[in-house]
Symmetry: C2
Subunit: 189 residues, 2 copies
């Protein structure tokens, strides 16, 4: 165990991963819709993302990344690497949209993608099937699906940090007690 | 500037802080209600918190910490320190409840507390009023209210990390790209 404690990592489960993926749009909606621009349009400084950029990135992933990669893996195995994921696509795709439009778009695309995933009727024997990541090399279908869910969480983690950052001075001496203000940006884009 | 970049910190604003505080119960509800126990009852190892503990802690803060401290500050200024915040109260208060009960309880208490805050009809001149924290010393009303909001975010940050932690192995080589898996627990309780 390289984590220094006793819990054992959870094995991938399609219903459990889907339960997470299903909830992300409503979570972001509850947190962000109607929130003042102070929180939504402020970032952590030069070349960092604000909440608007993060939602645009998640919508972009639904369009170009996750399900397209699932399909490449199932059709071509390791013979054809996935297309690289453009982590900056949202700056072209989202700049003229409102946050509310992006939240709706993300919810709509996620719902379509989860329906398409279900339609594949994946079986346990499919989960170890392999594809080829353009930089990481061989990866399995279950790793791809687990990453889709944890990618949501990495951006929820980033989002809470970006919003908190705006009050880094307003909290005064309490900043020492607020872990989110000590996060060193490891989940920045 | 000790942050190494160009953005300036945001000044406290009561309506903007309230906009955040108002949204937290629905955010946690969207993320957690009905989520499988794999995500809700697993922690990051010995002496760490799972999602259930975190929601219990937030409910406990509504009961014992934030508004009681606002009232002590307004009534006694620096003459009477705040009562210390028992960060483990939820282990007594929540153990026999369901996650759904805790989510309802948190939403109800938060809503009552925000109504009580509004009833105080705080004016800009009140925001610099001072109280006494039992360890940190003098703090202002605006710092206390900003901390209430950032405390929500620190636990949302922790929550996303605790959930992601369960799939730290399931994501395979992608873990290198997922910032939430690199977070070193600085926002642990």
């Amino acid at each position: 165990m390289h984590y220094g404690h006793m819990t054992s990592p959870t094995e991938f489960s399609l219903p459990e991963a889907t339960a997470l993926l299903t909830r992300t749009p409503a979570t972001l909606n509850a947190l962000l819709r109607g929130l003042p621009n102070t929180w939504v349009r402020s970032n952590e400084g030069k070349d960092t993302w604000n909440a608007f950029d993060i939602v645009g990135h998640l919508a972009s992933g639904e369009r170009h990344d996750w399900m397209p990669r699932v399909k490449i893996l199932l059709e071509h195995g390791e013979a054809r690497p996935f297309d690289p994921f453009d982590r900056f696509a949202q700056f072209k795709e989202s700049h003229d949209k409102s946050l509310e439009q992006l939240l709706d778009e993300f919810a709509h695309l996620r719902s379509e993608n989860l329906a398409a995933l279900q339609a594949l009727n994946l079986q346990p024997k499919d989960l170890p099937r392999r594809g080829k990541h353009p930089s990481l090399g061989a990866v399995t279908l279950s790793q791809l699906l687990a990453t889709w869910a944890v990618h949501d969480l990495t951006h929820l983690h980033q989002l809470s940090r970006v919003i908190a950052h705006q009050y880094r001075d307003a909290v005064g001496p309490w900043s020492a007690y607020l872990g989110v203000l000590q996060c060193t940006g490891h989940s920045a884009p």
